[in-house]
C-alpha cells in the first residue's frame, strides 16, 4: 500500500508549491479544516493522518518503528517522496511541528519552510529546562491510558464499542472526527510526551515561523521562545489566542500570521 493511501492523504488547490499540514496527538487532519482550505488559491494543499489516527490504515503497525517521533517523520518523508515534494512548506501543530522539523532535518530539499504551531522539543522538565510536566505527570498520563484506554477520550469510543464486522460501521468511522486507534494512540502519547528533540533544533536550516498561544499548558510561551532561540533565524509570533489549538479556536489569526510570513 502506498504511503498516500496509508495516511489518508488529501490534496487540493493549485499545482503550485506544496504545503503540508500535520496534526498532533489527540486528533486527526480535521484539526486543519478551518485553516488549510484558505491556502488553496496559491498552494498545493496536502493534509494527512498520522498512523492510528482518522482514516489512516494501521495494518502492519510496527510498535518499534513508532517508539520515537522519527518513525512518524519517516512517514512524512514517504508521503513527500510519493508526491514528489520539493521546496515545500510544512505546517505542523503541536507534536506535528517537531515531526515536520525531523522530516526537514532528514530531507532539507523536501521542506524548506517550517511553520510550527505550539511546538515543544521536550515536555518533561530538565535541570534548567521547563517543559511543563514532571516525570510523574507523564507517567500518570501513560498509566492512565494503559489502564483505561477506552474511556480516556470520547474519540476512542467508536472503535471499542463498534462491530468491525458491520460494513456500515467502517463508513461511520471514516466520517467520524478525531477517531483514534487506542493502542496506537498510547504509543503516540508515549513517543510524544517522552520525546527530547532539543538537540535537533539547531540542525534546522529551514525558514521557520513559530506560532505561540497564550496560556497554553501543553506548550507554554517560554517553551515556544526556547524553540525560537535554538532555531537560527526563526521568527516568533505570539498570538492573542489562548489554549493549545488556535487552528480551531482562532483560525483567522493563524491564517493571517502564516500568510504574512510566507509573503
Amino acid at each position: 500500500m502506498s504511503a498516500v493511501a496509508r495516511h489518508n492523504v488529501k490534496t487540493s488547490g493549485s499545482d503550485a508549491r506544496a504545503m503540508v499540514f500535520a496534526h498532533g496527538f489527540g486528533c486527526d487532519q480535521s484539526m486543519w479544516r478551518h485553516v488549510a482550505p484558505h491556502f488553496e488559491d496559491s498552494f498545493n494543499v496536502i493534509t494527512f493522518d498520522h498512523i492510528g489516527a482518522g482514516g489512516s490504515d494501521a495494518g502492519g503497525y510496527d510498535p518499534a518503528k513508532y517508539e520515537t517521533l522519527n518513525g512518524y517523520a519517516s512517514d512524512v518523508v514517504d508521503i513527500g517522496e510519493e508526491l514528489n515534494i520539493q521546496d515545500g512548506v510544512f505546517v505542523g501543530h503541536s507534536v506535528g511541528a517537531m515531526i515536520g522539523a525531523l522530516a526537514h532535518v532528514d530531507r532539507p530539499d523536501m521542506f524548506s519552510t517550517l511553520v510550527m504551531v505550539g511546538p515543544s522539543p521536550r515536555y518533561i522538565d530538565d535541570t534548567s529546562y521547563k517543559g511543563g510536566f514532571t516525570v510523574d505527570d507523564i507517567k500518570d498520563l501513560l498509566t492512565s491510558f494503559e489502564e483505561n484506554p477506552l474511556a480516556w477520550s470520547a474519540s476512542f469510543a467508536p472503535k471499542i464499542v463498534g462491530n468491525p464486522d458491520a460494513p456500515e460501521h467502517g463508513q461511520e468511522l471514516a466520517d467520524s472526527i478525531c477517531n483514534l486507534d487506542p493502542v496506537i494512540a498510547n504509543g503516540f502519547a508515549r513517543a510524544t510526551f517522552t520525546s527530547d528533540n532539543r538537540e535537533d533544533l539547531c540542525k534546522i536550516s529551514a525558514k521557520t515561523l513559530i506560532l505561540q498561544c497564550r496560556e497554553d499548558i501543553i506548550a507554554s510561551e517560554h517553551v515556544g521562545r526556547y524553540v525560537h532561540d535554538k532555531i537560527p533565524g526563526s521568527e516568533f509570533v505570539l498570538l492573542d489566542a489562548t489554549g493549545h489549538c488556535p487552528n480551531l479556536t482562532a483560525p483567522e489569526e493563524v491564517i493571517s500570521a502564516i500568510r504574512n510570513f510566507l509573503s
Partner: protein, 369 residues
Amino acid sequence: MTDTRNESFGPETAPARYGRLTTDQTGTIIAANERLANWLGLDAFQMTGAPFVEMLTKASRIVFETSIVPLLSLNGHVDGVSLDLKDAEANKLPVLLSAEETGSGEHKVTSFVFLLADARRAYERDLNDARAKAEDRLTTSLHEAQLREQFIAILGHDLRNPLASISSAMSILSREPLSQRSQDIVELTNGSVQRMSLLIQNVLDFARNRLGSGIHLTMTAGTALSAEIRQVVDELRSAQTDREIQLEIGDLDTVRCDVSKVGQLLSNLLGNAVTYGDPSKPIQVRAVKPSANSFELSVKNYGAPIPEAAIARLFDPFVRSTSQEDQQGLGLGLHIASEIAKAYGGSLHVRSDESFTCFTLVIPLSVSD
C-alpha cells in the same frame, strides 16, 4: 435565549447527583453547582473565575487540551468522556463528563455535566486486565499446541525406521524354511506392520497439515495406480481372511495422481469398512474413470447406517464411533482421507442409509495430462 453568562445555578433544594459547571470562551468558570463543589472540597462561589483546567489532574489536562477541546470545537459536544478531577487535597476524582458548546466567539459558553465514575472505572480496569490475561493465555496455548504438533511430527517420523527394520526382518524370515506356526506369526506381524505404517502416515499427515504445510502430493503418471489399489486390497484380504472384498477396477493408466496417497486413502476407507461393515456381506471397492476428466474411488459396506448426528462430524479429527464397541485407532483415518481429497481439489462424500454405507472420492483430472 437568556444570556447564559449570567446564569447561576443558585441554591438547590434537592441537590442533584451530578456536577454541573459552565465556562466562557477562555475556559474560565462562570458557575458551578454545589454538588461539584462538595466533591472537590471547594466553595461553589469561589470556583467562579478560575480556569476549568485547574480542576483537572495534569494527565487529564493533556487529554482535555489535545482531544476534548478539538472535539468540542469540531462537533460542538462530547459524551461520556472519562477524566480525573482534582480535589482540594489533590486527590483524584474519576468522573464521566459530557459537554456542549453554545454561542460563538466571545459569547461561546461550554456546559459540563459530571457523574462520579470510580466504580465504573474499576470495572473497566478489570475488564482490561481480563482481556490482557485472556490474550496471554491464548498466545501460550497456541504456542504449546504448535510444540505438541511438532513433537507428533518428529515422533511419527522416528517410528518409521524401527518399523522398516521389523518389516525387512519379516521379509528375510519368510524366505527361510519355517514351521506353519512361524509362517502364521510372520503373516500376522506383516499385517501389524502395515497397520502401524498406515497409522504413522496418518499421524504425520495430520501434524504436517496442522503445522500449515498441508498434505504433500507428489504427482506421477497413473500407470502404477491399478497395482497400488490391488496391493492395498490384497493386503487387507490376507489380514482379514474371513471378509469378502470385491474389487472393480477400470483403466486408470491416465489418472495422474500421488499413487501412495491414493493407496493410503483407500487403506483408511477399507479399515473403516472392516470395522463398521456387516461381516456377513462383502465390501465393494470400485476404482473407475466415469469421464475423461475425473477419477472416482468408492468403498461400500453393508453395515448399520451412520447416525445423522455423526455425519456432520465424520471427517473431523479424533472422531470415533461411540455406539460401537470396537474402538480402535486415533480416529484420524476419515479425517486424513478427506484432507487428501481436499489436497487434490476433489471431494470425499458419504452416503449412508438402511441399505448400505458408501464413501466416494472424486478427483478432478486435468484433461491435458
